[in-house]
């Protein structure tokens, strides 16, 4: 079959909501877009462990510590589900890991911000995971089967992440004036970077149209951002905190909040590697890879020994 005939059949299939599976014919650009998107997503899960690990030894109670450990373990698992989905597209996980370590591949810019206080761990769960969930719920309906299935698993696990984060912030918000101040400060610092997680505005997002046509994405960046704001403002009000946006106003006509301008210079600056923690995050990943080498070698030697014994 001719390329454009194949392309036409592919589009028909996608339009009919039939999932694309690994061995099916797919346009090269569809494959490339997915590899890039899924691996970036996987890298984000893995790097996302770092800001949280920063507070593991200083969690204020055993309960909080166990929860945080479980959450961080989930993030590692989510990274693995996603690498597994990416590998069905014909790449090797090792290649993807090398792309992260060399800086060739990107991860979500949000993880280049520091977690300065314990309240930040709450804000990360509530806002960062909350924003991620908006995106991930949409992606359960993505056209690529393995990606969609990985997202279903992730969404099931992720909702506890957001709730535990909100619980931390809510607890601080009804504590002493200092604790409430800490919660407000965390909201102030994480609000805008969380909005940036949805990516550039629709009129400045050149890949969105194609991704929507192929149903890789089902909603645009601005649509998801709007949903997130509508939900989160109400949650902040419920615990007596103020969203740090003086232009935030309910728009009766649209049925959504209008919000102030996002600082896109900051967004691009962080993506380009100049955020507060980019270098620290990359160094932590490289160190983890290098320091884990002996473990990988030992596992291999142990497997060989076990095989020899069984023979």
């Amino acid at each position: 079959m001719e390329e454009n005939q194949l392309l036409e059949k592919f589009q028909e299939k996608v339009d009919a909501e039939i999932k694309v599976e690994p061995k099916d014919w797919m346009p090269e650009k569809y494959r490339k877009t997915l590899i890039r998107q899924i691996s970036q997503h996987a890298h984000s899960e893995v790097v996302g462990m770092l800001p949280e690990a920063n507070w593991l030894t200083r969690a204020p109670s055993l309960r909080r510590k166990m929860i945080l450990l479980a959450k961080i373990q989930d993030e590692a698992g989510h990274g693995l589900y996603l690498y597994s989905a990416a590998e069905t597209l014909g790449v090797d996980r090792q290649e993807l890991v090398e792309e992260l370590l060399s800086g060739k591949a990107k991860y979500s810019s949000i993880f280049n911000y520091p977690t300065l206080t314990w309240a930040d761990i709450g804000a990360v769960g509530w806002l960062v995971d909350g924003a991620a969930i908006m995106n991930q719920v949409m992606l359960t309906r993505t056209s690529y089967g393995p990606y969609s299935r990985a997202m279903v698993r992730i969404c099931k696990e992720e909702s506890f992440h957001q709730r535990q984060g909100f619980e931390i912030v809510a607890t601080l918000a009804k504590g002493t004036p200092e604790q409430k101040e800490m919660a407000q400060d965390a909201l102030n610092r994480w609000w805008w970077p969380s909005l940036m997680m949805f990516g550039p505005r629709d009129d400045n997002s050149p890949n969105t149209a194609q991704s929507m046509k192929w149903k890789i994405k089902r909603k645009t960046n601005d649509e998801l951002r709007e949903e997130f704001i509508d939900r989160t403002v109400q949650q902040a009000e419920a615990i007596g905190l103020t969203v740090p946006d003086k232009d935030l106003k309910w728009n009766e006509e649209r049925g959504h909040y209008d919000h102030g301008e996002i600082n896109w210079d900051e967004f691009y600056n962080v993506i380009q590697g100049n955020g507060p923690c980019n270098q620290e995050r990359m160094k932590a990943r490289r160190d983890a890879y290098d320091n884990g080498r002996w473990v990988r070698e030992a596992a291999k030697a142990y497997a060989a020994k076990r095989a020899a014994k069984a023979a």
Binding site: Q73, D74, G77, A85, R93, R149, A299
Partner: protein, 98 residues
């Protein structure tokens, strides 16, 4: 790192039985140095919330699959055999347990 790449652990496909009596279902894959380690890691990756009572791991390269390009012709023989379904048959009104 390229040397390590060559010595990469093989890929195992993971199948989980969620409770006794149900079939094992494909959940994803992982790399491991051998099958035993693959099972142990699959437990940590795929059953953190008691999703399983049994795990199978299969080397990905051991799986043979039908070709999606030929799926049309390959599955075609079943399409015109509606008499294989109970709804094909006319049963007089009022007759029960059929």
């Amino acid at each position: 790192m390229s040397q390590e790449n060559q010595a990469n652990w093989p890929l195992y496909e993971v199948f989980i039985q969620s409770k006794p009596g149900l079939a094992h279902k494909h959940v994803g894959s992982l790399h491991a140095p051998d099958a035993q380690t693959a099972i142990e890691n699959a437990r940590d990756v795929y059953t953190r919330r008691s999703e399983g009572t049994s795990i199978w791991v299969v080397p990905a390269e051991a799986i043979s699959a039908s070709s999606p390009d030929d799926a049309g012709e390959f599955f075609e023989p079943a399409n015109d055999k509606v008499y294989r379904h109970p709804t094909f048959y006319d049963i007089p009104k009022g007759v029960k347990y059929l």
